[in-house]
Every structure is written in C-alpha cells, then in structure tokens.
C-alpha cells in the first residue's frame, strides 16, 4: 500500500489524480444541464437573442478565469517540484518503462494487440474517426446545448471511447501496471521477479486447428465475419429503418467499420483475460 501512495503522489502523476476528480465533476455538471433541457425543452429564442458586449462582460470573465488558473498553477508550481531522476543511461532499463502518462492508454493496448495494431493502426484510426465524427453524425438535434434524449447513441459511443478506453486505461497504466507491465492491485507489492506463466493460445488452437494454413484461413474467416456484421445489419434493417436510409451506404460503412474496430479492443480484452487467447488471426505476415 505504501508504494501505491508514493505512486499516486508522484509529481508527474498529479495530472492523473486531477483528472480523476475533473471528469466526474464535469460529467455531473453536464448531466444536470442535459436533464434540465430534456425535461423542460430547449431554451426559447428570446433568451438566446439576448446579446451582451464582449467588453466588459466577456473580457471580465476571461480575466477572472485567467487569474484563478494562474493562481492554481502558481500554487502547484511552488509546492510540487518537477521530477529529475538520474542522468540518462541507455544500459540501465527501468522496470517498468512507461511512456508519458497521456500515452498510457496506447501502451496498455500493447498487451492485447501487436505493436503495429496498438501503436500505429489503432491510433491512426482514432484520429481519422475523430475527424470523421461531424461528417457521419447527421443528427441535426442537440447542437449547442446539453442533452441526452436527443442523441443517446452518439453520446454513449463517445463517452465509452473517451472515458473507458482512454481515461480509465490511462489510469490503469499509471497506477496498476508494475514491473514487466504486470497488473498489481494497490495493496500488492511490486515484485520485479514475478513471473506470470504465459499459457495463451490462439483462437484457432482452441477450435482444434493445428496446421498453419487452416489456422490462417480460420482467422481470416473470423475477422472478416466480424466486420461483415456491419453490412449484414444494413441489409437486414435498411428497408425498415428511415435512419439508415438517411445515413446512406458510404457513411454507414465508415461508421460500422470504426465502431466495430473500437469494440474490438474490449472484445480482445475479454478474450485475453477470460480465455487466454493470444491471437484471433495468425497469418504469415501479421497477427491480430
């Protein structure tokens, strides 16, 4: 437990601790406003046409906000010193070696996927997916105010991605990953000699497939089948769903691809942690 307290109070981990308070606070703040809108309706035009002069009203707010933030930063800087460890030494690898805190969700993904997926493809898709959001979210409602009722799906997807897959993984990576990137609960001592037996097998092995070409083909079928869920759902629902018709095929393919890729991370986590599955698809060129 002592080492955990030391870890939490490490100067460089202050931002993470701050985030642990800030995210719930802002969630609560926005939830309250969303509920108010959902119960009472979107504020009327009259209140909105009300304009105020930037000088002095906005400038005053900016000024007060800047002073408060500078005060917090000043106190933070006076009371907590930036870390400086021993001079760098390429021959002394610390265990665990961690990337800066804001990349720890990516480092955490390395447990479940090979580096080319976790470190390159998925980050690339996160960026592309973020940029694509305004172009694929065709719901005109919920623009410029907090609401839950008018866009539940968009909110659920984004909050899951941001809070669970980015913030929570970052916190886990910082506080609960010890030597060898092994998982340690707060009360467990970090043991650098801990050996976790690797009994992971590939999905094809679990299904009794032993020879490589068949395993390769099997993996391909599983992955292709997974991504085919998107088109299948489209064909099944397209006739009856006005939403799908408005969305159109191109946007739908993009959304379903990105959505399934995002869900692949928690699915792979469950497969790894629950069934000790290493790869779903083993091919001569890459493994997934």
């Amino acid at each position: 437990m002592e080492h955990f307290i030391a870890l939490v109070t490490k100067p460089d981990n202050v931002p993470i601790v701050a985030i642990l308070f800030l995210i719930p606070y802002f969630l609560w703040l926005s939830y309250r406003q969303a509920r108010q809108t959902d119960l009472a309706g979107v504020p009327s035009d009259a209140a909105l046409n009300d304009k105020v002069y930037v000088w002095p009203y906005l400038c005053r707010n900016e000024f007060i906000c800047a002073i408060i933030v500078m005060l917090v930063l000043g106190i933070w800087s006076i009371t907590i010193d930036a870390p400086l460890e021993e001079p760098s030494d390429p021959t002394k690898t610390p265990n665990p070696s961690k990337a800066p805190w804001y990349f720890l969700a990516l480092q955490e993904m390395l447990v479940y996927f090979d580096p080319w997926v976790a470190g390159v493809v998925l980050p690339g898709l996160i960026i592309a997916g973020l940029i694509a959001i305004p172009y694929v979210d065709i719901n005109p409602k919920g623009k410029g105010y907090y609401t839950i009722k008018e866009r539940p799906f968009a909110l659920a997807v984004f909050c899951f991605g941001f809070i669970i897959l980015w913030i929570v993984l970052m916190v886990v990576g910082t506080f609960l990953r010890g030597p060898g990137w092994n998982f340690f609960a707060p009360w467990q001592k970090w043991d650098p000699h801990l050996v976790v037996p690797l009994t992971n097998v590939n999905l094809s092995y679990l299904f009794g497939i032993r020879d490589e070409p068949t395993a390769n083909f099997f993996g391909f079928v599983v992955v292709a089948g997974y991504y085919a869920l998107g088109p299948i759902f489209y064909v099944w629902k397209q006739k009856s769903s006005r939403f799908l018709q408005e969305l159109g095929l191109v946007r739908y393919i993009l959304v379903s691809f990105l959505f399934l890729t995002m869900l692949a991370l928690p699915i792979k986590m469950v497969l790894r942690l629950g069934l000790n599955i290493k790869y779903v698809w083993v091919s001569p060129w890459f493994n997934i």
């Binding site: 995210i23 909105l48 390429p90 800066p100 960026i127």
Partner: protein, 256 residues
C-alpha cells in the same frame, strides 16, 4: 455634500496635470465598448457582442481559453528556460540541475513550464469532451472540429518532444518506449508487416523520428528544435485558424 464632491471631482479632472495624463474621459456607451474590442490588437479576434449563454462557465467550462492560456504560459517560461539550456548530451542534464539549484527562481520556472504543459494536455482533452457533449461540432463547425483534432495531436507532440529534454532516466525511457512502436509501422517500419526489403533499422520511420537507431544526442537536438521552434509555430498557426473559425462559424454554438 454631493454637490461639493462633484465640484471637487471636476476640479481634479479638469486640472492640467490630470489632463496631461488622461487624454479624454471614458464614455459609457455601446459604441465605446465596441471600439474597445475592435481597436485593441489583443482583443480584436473577439466579436463586439456575444450571446449571453456563451459567458456561462457551465456551458464552455472555459476549457478552450484555459488551453490557450497554458500555451502562452509555456511559451513565456519556455523562452526563459532556453537561456539556460543547451541541447547536447554533455550539457543538457547538468544545465537542468544548474537551473534548479543555482539560478534564482530556476526551479519555479521549470515547475511552471512543466505543470502548465501537463495542464494544457488535461484542458485540451476536457475541451474536446465539452465540444462533443454540446454537439458543437455539427454544421457549420465540422471543419473547426477537424482543426481541433489536429491541435490535440500537436499538443501531445509538443508535450512529448519536451519530455526528452531534461535528459534524465525518466525522459530517456519514456521517449524510448513512446517511439518504439514506430518500428512496427506497416510498410514503413523495419519490424512492421509488409516492410519491403530495403527498409532497415537505419532508414525506417523510427530512424527519421530519432535521427538514429536509438535515442541519442542527435535525437535530443532533433526533439529540441521540434519542441522549441517547429511545433510551437505550427500550433500558433493552427490556433489562429481555430479562433478565426470559431468567430466565422457564428461564435460559440448555441441552440438556434
């Protein structure tokens, strides 16, 4: 009594000394308020008027503004730090030590720079979260959301390149771990899938990033220049674009 005070006030404000300092009085009019914003080089990016709800902390959380403030703090403290820091493997670490122990307020300067940088990463993530929750990326702000996503990456990269500069164990290994994944880039990394024959450890993307096969003195110089010159410039240009578009897209979004 009141009359007396008024007379005194007039006497003072009409005196030669007062009028030599203050060129004219302050009119309390909308025209004056508008000109105040339009004529001030620091304020002119603002529109003269905004809708009332845009002032509300509960709506914007002030996070975009705080991100910008943090950027300004890192820019000012960063320039001061540059006076004491040499980006070479011999000097980098001892310069930071010297800064901490011998330069007046050197430790405070370094702390402010580091914590403002961390603060910027936090606030930019929260800003993005707020913009999503209020649906502010919707028409006509699609493009500005995209600019924002690039700014998010630029903020991460700014922080990441700075992380190496103290040249201690923390810096060295964080950057080693952070750049290791680049070797697995498909096609362009020597350990990635589909890497063609000519791609080796000494010419793949990771090499381009590190200026070497491991983090070394040339990496330090490369990251220093990216951190102090190239990326801040890029960030400034993108922020100017971002702020301009906030205004052109009709100001802070609202339910209309």
């Amino acid at each position: 009594m009141n009359e007396e005070r008024k007379g005194l006030k007039e006497k003072i404000t009409n005196s030669d000394i007062w009028r030599s300092i203050f060129r004219h009085g302050y009119e309390n009019t909308g025209r004056r308020y508008t000109l105040q914003v339009l004529q001030n080089v620091w304020l002119h990016l603002h529109p003269p008027r905004v809708s009332r709800h845009a002032l509300n902390f509960r709506f914007t959380w002030c996070m975009g503004g705080i991100t910008f403030l943090m950027f300004l703090v890192t820019a000012v403290t960063g320039v001061l730090l540059m006076f004491y820091y040499r980006p070479t493997a011999e000097y980098a670490f001892s310069d930071v030590q010297y800064l901490e122990f011998d330069i007046p307020f050197g430790m405070l300067l370094r702390n402010m720079h580091r914590w403002a940088a961390h603060g910027m990463v936090i606030s930019v993530m929260l800003h993005m979260f707020r913009v999503f929750l209020t649906g502010s990326y919707k028409k006509p702000r699609e493009f500005n959301w995209g600019v924002g996503v690039i700014l998010l990456l630029v903020t991460f990269f700014l922080s990441f390149t700075g992380y190496l500069l103290p040249w201690d164990q923390l810096a060295f290994w964080a950057v080693t771990v952070g750049t290791n994944m680049a070797r697995a880039t498909p096609v362009l990394g020597h350990e990635g899938p589909f890497a063609p024959e000519p791609i080796t450890q000494a010419n793949d993307v990771r090499f381009a990033l590190l200026a070497g096969t491991i983090v070394g003195p040339s990496t330090l110089l490369r990251f220093y220049i990216l951190h102090c010159v190239a990326v801040p410039l890029l960030a400034s240009v993108l922020m100017a674009l971002h702020f301009w578009r906030v205004r052109k897209d009709g100001g802070i979004s609202g339910p209309l």
